[in-house]
Symmetry: C2
Subunit: 383 residues, 2 copies
């Protein structure tokens, strides 16, 4: 039924709506930012997972891009992208798929932070008769993936790769702890330690004779607030394409920049409780509660009306699998009439969008229910 | 690559694994329970979302089943199921799809709890030239969907349906607040109030001249611990098929009954922190933290080895999009070797399974990596 929808109002709910005007504004902003910082933009496609979005992010058709799963790498390769970095430490179980992409001519880069998996990469290269390009992930303070930049193991990993005939393409850092900030100066300080750590690691590798051409950093807050990226060659922000309530809380955008919403319908009212229910719950919104740690806790999302205008005070306060309970409705049934449509601004759009197989694209949400649906853009989910 | 996997060990990670022996034990237990209570089992397929699982749950091919979305209803209809209740209050935007299924000959039941949407049902029936069968959702204490069983509005909703020529099939209750319990007696008390509320609502409707043939209750804890379901005609448990850590915390099962796990690979070790990372993170496990409210907080999941044997003390303590951080590993690299495989027991399997498009089915996880993969069973996700 939704395949023949001609307007937003014709779509069954819940569905994922993409405001193309906001998207393009966000994309332009980050391309300008990369140019100002003098680094290449290798956008992270783990948020959008869409070839249509990636092409617009790059204003180009083949890359460079970043992905987080091998299924994404395969999807983007199938859609004409040729320069792809899989920025999550590779599992040995995925090396066969990686080798297949390299054998197809894709310039694929894999990542690890330890000598054991470096050894597995060397082994897979022999078995599959390909050469891998690998980057070494370094820890710049988040203590997630990554090897401490000052350790001997950094050089050991590079040695295993080189001795095994594989290319040491460079170093990769991700300062995910910028997400804990709400102050631009604090973000800039973390971005500087990310820059300095990645550059130091690259210098150590170069002194040991590795060319190490790529120095890669990432994160939307870091990209927006870094004072300098001297010595860095590329950056990998991703969520900036769509933005969300969490990024708004960090200070990366305003609510008016959030390009992706979940359109939902009001299915009941409880005037005696001041609540209503919508047909978007834990699956349609995700259970991400990341704004809980920020000054403004947005529950499971904030509401707008059918034209994308904020409905102040209306929050998704609880979710069940297919129900979202809206607080702040009051006793007046005209505030949120049964059957009416709303949009939910997502807490964490990477999690919310992952539940949908496509975007309903409109020029602007402000056109409301009569706005034509321009296109459905597919997403690639899963592994 | 995974399509030609012949053993569990050949599968790339992360992936969703279904232990068929545990599944069948759980299914038999609930069929026996329904028989002992003297009610029809209309299993809720919102957890498994799989025709293969639903057929085994019923030991029959066409129903009766319960679903939570119209996409599920369409999927099960396409797979030969003919008796389907959509147990979430219907959004007007989905009535067209419901009418299409009825026109195809599916015995579809929709649900609402208010007269506005009852009116929309009547309108859609006229426009589409079909007759709907509708159930009225009643609130038995959870205060989610459902109308208070004592109100005039209960009769008003039924009146709108009958006057509009639609069938009032009965009443439907869901005592989701059993999930807050960890004591069988407390669950049994709630199940009794669910039973009594649903029966009272049906009696009120019958006194007003509605046949009201179906009195439907649901929830896995209620189904397992109810003392009696006198006056009830059917029950709709769902998560019992797979079970999960949350249901274990409620007392509905043991850890050894959990039939679905996420298989993951260890991608790094941090002996100085006592942690490791696996390639299953926020998307592969979900961000559901429902066990946080229970006596045993399981983080984002508990670990077993590659044979499904518990690894005491190992918990997924934090997740990023594609990373899970394991606490409790200690400094010995032999505890969780890099590249080795583990399984994560899910907190809330409805949320975790929703991220996957299929199950890798094995006879028993205890067979470990050499265990043949019997089949891949598809799931239907989204809306």
């Amino acid at each position: 039924m939704s395949d023949i929808a001609s307007t937003l109002g014709d779509l069954p709910t819940p569905c994922l709506v993409l405001d193309r005007s906001k998207l393009e504004r966000n994309l332009t902003r980050m391309r300008d930012r990369a140019a100002a910082l003098g680094v290449r933009l290798r956008p992270h496609c783990k948020t959008a997972k869409s070839a249509e979005v990636a092409r617009r992010a790059l204003a180009a058709d083949t890359g460079p891009i970043t992905v987080s799963t091998m299924r994404e790498a395969q999807y983007f390769a199938d859609n004409g992208f040729t320069d792809i970095t899989v920025a999550v430490g590779i599992s040995p179980s995925r090396l066969g798929q990686a080798a297949d992409l390299i054998a197809r001519g894709i310039d694929l880069t894999v990542v690890t932070d330890n000598a054991v998996i470096a050894g597995e990469i060397v082994q897979a290269a022999k078995t599959r008769d390909v050469t891998f390009a690998a980057m070494i992930e370094v820890d710049v303070g988040e203590h997630r993936g990554g090897i401490d930049v000052r350790t001997d193991e950094l050089l050991e990993i590079a040695g295993v790769l080189r001795d095994g005939g594989q290319a040491v393409r460079g170093v990769l850092a991700h300062a995910g702890h910028t997400y804990a900030c709400t102050d631009p100066d604090a973000i800039a300080d973390i971005a500087e330690s990310e820059r300095a750590g990645a550059v130091l690691a690259a210098e150590r590798l170069r002194r040991a004779g590795h060319a190490c051409p790529v120095v890669s950093v990432g994160s939307t807050p870091g990209a927006l607030f870094a004072r300098s990226l001297d010595g860095v060659t590329e950056m990998r922000p991703g969520v900036y394409m769509f933005m969300d309530l969490f990024q708004s809380g960090v200070g990366c955008c305003g609510l008016e920049d959030i390009a992706v919403t979940v359109m939902a319908s009001v299915t009941n009212l409880r005037p005696e409780q001041g609540t209503a229910h919508i047909d978007a719950g834990a699956l349609a919104l995700s259970k991400d509660r990341s704004t809980q740690s920020q000054p403004r806790d947005c529950g499971f999302g904030l509401l707008t009306d059918a034209y994308g205008r904020p409905l102040p005070g209306l929050t998704v306060e609880a979710v069940h699998q297919e129900h979202g309970r809206i607080a702040g409705v009051g006793a007046d049934p005209a505030v949120l009439p049964i059957g009416s449509r709303v949009h939910v601004l997502p807490n964490h759009v990477c999690m919310t969008a992952a539940m949908y197989d496509r975007y309903a694209v409109v020029e602007s949400l402000s056109g409301g229910p009569k706005q034509p649906v321009e296109a459905f853009w597919e997403r690639v989910n899963g592994w």
